[in-house]
């Protein structure tokens, strides 16, 4: 190994505590995967509550889920899958050092993310109008039992709300990436931030992949 100067010189691609750029990249990627594990357990708590309550109140959950608009949900899922697609193309562009392609794909991913959030806002507003928002004046006509119905919508807003919050954070990261990509900070040698942002974005997409069927598609045939 090359003789290290007394205090090793610091570059973006090689922080001082690492010995090789390879070690730094592997550490950053592995660190991101560990963070994604904490996110799996974070959402896992909500999925646990969902599983227990759906098991206890199957009928009411079915009725409440049928009141959601599955078509919009499916379209929204497609939007998010497309944003994942453009994201991965962006990461590929960064790997090959194509700055312009990276910028285009980042913009596309950001836009698709905004579309998703827009559709989400529309759905929530629709729920607000129908008095399906848990709280004082909650009323759900689909089932006589208001308690468990309010449980479903509490979980609905908790899960989709947390997911939307993660989308907003993701959009923030993408904008930061865009800002630095435009300034040419990412090269084929140093593109770890793009790769890591990609991992985060795909993870948020995976959460929605599970949220969509579990929230929107319960006993859909009952309608």
């Amino acid at each position: 190994m090359a003789e290290q100067a007394h205090s090793p010189v610091e570059t973006l691609a090689l922080r001082e505590q690492f010995n090789t750029a390879e070690q730094q990249k592997e550490s950053s990627t592995f660190g991101m995967w560990i963070f994604l594990i904490t996110e799996v357990m974070f959402f896992g708590g909500l999925f646990l509550a969902y599983t227990v309550y759906r098991n206890t109140y199957p009928v009411v959950f079915g009725a409440a889920s049928t009141s959601l608009n599955a078509v919009i949900g499916a379209l929204n899922t497609a939007v998010l899958l497309c944003s994942s697609f453009t994201m991965v193309l962006g990461v590929r562009a960064a790997q090959l050092g194509r700055r312009r392609a990276l910028i285009v794909f980042l913009i596309l991913t950001l836009l698709l993310g905004m579309v998703f959030l827009g559709v989400k806002a529309y759905e929530w507003n629709e729920k607000f109008v129908e008095h399906h928002v848990p709280g004082a004046h909650f009323h759900f006509e689909g089932a006589a039992e208001q308690g468990p119905a309010q449980l479903f919508f509490s979980l609905y807003f908790a899960m989709t709300g947390l997911h939307a919050l993660h989308m907003v954070v993701g959009a923030g990261i993408l904008s930061w990436l865009l800002f630095h990509a435009v300034r040419g900070r990412f090269t084929a040698e140093y593109m770890t931030p793009v790769d890591i942002a990609g991992l985060y974005w795909h993870f948020v997409d995976i959460i929605w992949i599970f949220l969509f069927p579990l929230l929107y598609l319960i006993d859909r045939h009952m309608r």
Partner: protein
């Protein structure tokens, strides 16, 4: 090296004196010192609450404070001690400082995230202290619903926010440790050449990463239920308060292993150095740390035996709880076996290690009591359980934390602590501790419930004994605070390796240079190989 030369030697402490160099540092050693100051403050805040509780309990009718205040006292004692002292204690101070050095790294994998972790603890602590000053919270550190969501009108939201934020400090520290141990070991530092302190902190990091997020989301749900009245756990809506207990204890039982595993790591180091022998059954002790981390996640239901959890689930949890006890027993037996045919010195860290093994054995064995279904029905939520977890937390973790502090103080500060004062305070702490908590086992079996400040007269004698013990314990804890500060200025200058230890952290000057190693070392020796440090050692045994 005369004292003047040592003074001018460049190290991480004199690398910068202004506030910016401390508050924006990326050096894992300085961050460890910042953590040490923060958790010491919280330790004394929690200690003050504990003293007030013990004074209140001297009389059966509890004259010192009203019921509301007493409920806030034990709640804030629990929160300050658990979330802001015990969980960060050893990993964030001794772990942060020494883990990188022990595996031959210049720093943790993500220094800036390390600094962020400290700020998260301080911000979280700020919220908690604000809640305490504004009026306190009276839900108990367990926040059981529906009391915490519907019936308590105290500062639950502010405290929950504080714990939520400080939880991420724990998650990020765990993340940092896992990546550092996997990716940044020096050449030759194989997994089985790593000191057991690193193994213990690695196992702790796994628990922090996998468990803490679940309590974070549970607190978010309690927050939403109080603020937006959405009823996840509200029985009036058909919610299940027992689901809250499942989600809470899924984290909070592994959290007790977050608190005790690093302590075990410290004890493995101290026992080995001061008997100058490698730990007996190194591989078994290393694997038992990992076993505790994994099985620790399967046993949380033993907190719910009488909570209308089903009988069959109780059977499963009780059975598995005995599995998690075995690795701890293996460790205790291996530590004791290490002393056999050793060359045992009675320096203060070793006294704390002896104290730890004794008290942790009692704490662990009473764990077997409360894991038995029929017995737990009688003693859960009584002082028997209070005594059990104080034996493991105070008798175990705090003893090991103090032992670790004394053991590594020369390396951290370049000064020796006063040996005789330290031995005296260790003895006072040992006596005070036992007098405080052993009577509580008897109180517990007689049926004294937890969180009571008004109790039947027949319990008073044991309570007075316990309060007497608590006052001795409080004095015992003040000693180290005083002489550690004193040693910073007047302490004898510490050589690089005062104890003849084998870790990589002892191969550098005290206090260590900013970048730990000029050249990343290549490790060739096995772990705890004392022939490398004892010059012309006389073979014995």
């Amino acid at each position: 090296m005369n004292t003047a030369a040592i003074e001018t030697q460049e190290n991480y402490l004199n690398a910068g004196y202004d506030l910016k160099s401390w508050l924006l540092t990326k050096d894992h050693k300085r961050i460890a010192i910042l953590y040490l100051i923060t958790i010491t403050i919280f330790f004394f805040i929690g200690g003050i609450f504990a003293s007030l509780i013990r004074i209140e309990l001297m009389t059966p009718q509890g004259g010192l404070v009203s019921s509301e205040t007493y409920n806030k006292l034990f709640t804030m004692h629990g929160i300050a001690m658990i979330f802001f002292f015990l969980i960060p204690s050893i990993p964030a101070t001794l772990g942060n400082f020494f883990l990188p050095m022990m595996i031959g790294a210049r720093d943790l994998a993500f220094p800036r995230i390390n600094l962020l972790s400290w700020y998260l603890l301080v911000i979280g602590g700020g919220f908690a202290i604000f809640a305490m000053l504004a009026g306190g919270v009276d839900t108990g550190w367990t926040f059981y619903t529906p009391y915490s969501t519907t019936y308590s009108n105290t500062w639950v939201i502010a405290t929950a926010l504080g714990i939520f934020v400080s939880g991420f400090s724990s998650i990020l520290t765990g993340l940092n440790f896992i990546v550092t141990v996997h990716r940044m070991r020096a050449p030759g530092m194989t997994w089985f050449r790593m000191p057991l302190f690193v193994w213990a902190n690695y196992a702790t990091a796994v628990i922090q990463v996998l468990g803490t997020p679940v309590v974070a989301v549970t607190i978010v749900l309690v927050f939403c239920e109080r603020v937006f009245h959405i009823g996840i756990f509200d029985p009036a809506l058909g919610g299940d308060p027992i689901l809250f207990q499942h989600m809470f204890w899924f984290y909070s039982h592994p959290a007790v292993y977050i608190m005790v595993l690093p302590a075990m790591g410290v004890i493995s180091e101290i026992i080995s150095v001061f008997s100058r022998k490698p730990i007996f059954g190194y591989h078994f002790v290393a694997f038992s740390s990992m076993a505790i981390a994994v099985i620790g996640f399967l046993v949380w239901g033993h907190h719910l035996f009488v909570s209308t959890q089903s009988v069959y689930a109780g059977l499963v949890f009780s059975f598995l709880s005995y599995f998690v006890a075995i690795p701890s027993a293996v460790k205790v037996f291996n530590w004791t076996a290490t002393l056999y045919k050793g060359s045992i010195s009675f320096a203060t860290p070793m006294l704390y290690a002896f104290g730890f093994i004794g008290l942790f054995t009692i704490g662990g064995l009473t764990g077997l009591f409360v894991a038995s279904l029929g017995f737990d029905v009688h003693v859960t939520d009584t002082y028997f359980v209070v005594a059990h977890f104080h034996y493991v937390m105070v008798g175990g973790t705090i003893m090991a934390f103090l032992g670790g502090l004394h053991y590594w103080w020369p390396k951290m500060t370049g000064r020796m602590y006063p040996e005789n004062w330290a031995k005296l305070s260790a003895a006072i702490i040992f006596v005070g501790f036992n007098l405080t908590f052993f009577p509580q086992f008897i109180l517990g079996y007689m049926g004294m419930p937890r969180r009571y400040h008004v109790y039947p007269d027949e319990f008073q004698v044991l309570h007075v004994l316990s309060t007497a013990g608590a006052s001795i314990l409080a004095i015992g804890y003040l000693f180290p605070m005083v002489y550690f500060m004193w040693s910073l200025r007047y302490g004898e200058l510490a050589p690089a390796n005062p104890w003849g230890a084998t870790g990589l952290e002892w191969t550098m000057q005290s206090p260590p240079p900013v970048h730990n190693f000029d050249k990343i070392p290549v490790v060739t020796h096995e772990v705890y190989d004392y022939s490398t440090v004892v010059k012309e050692g006389v073979e014995i045994g």
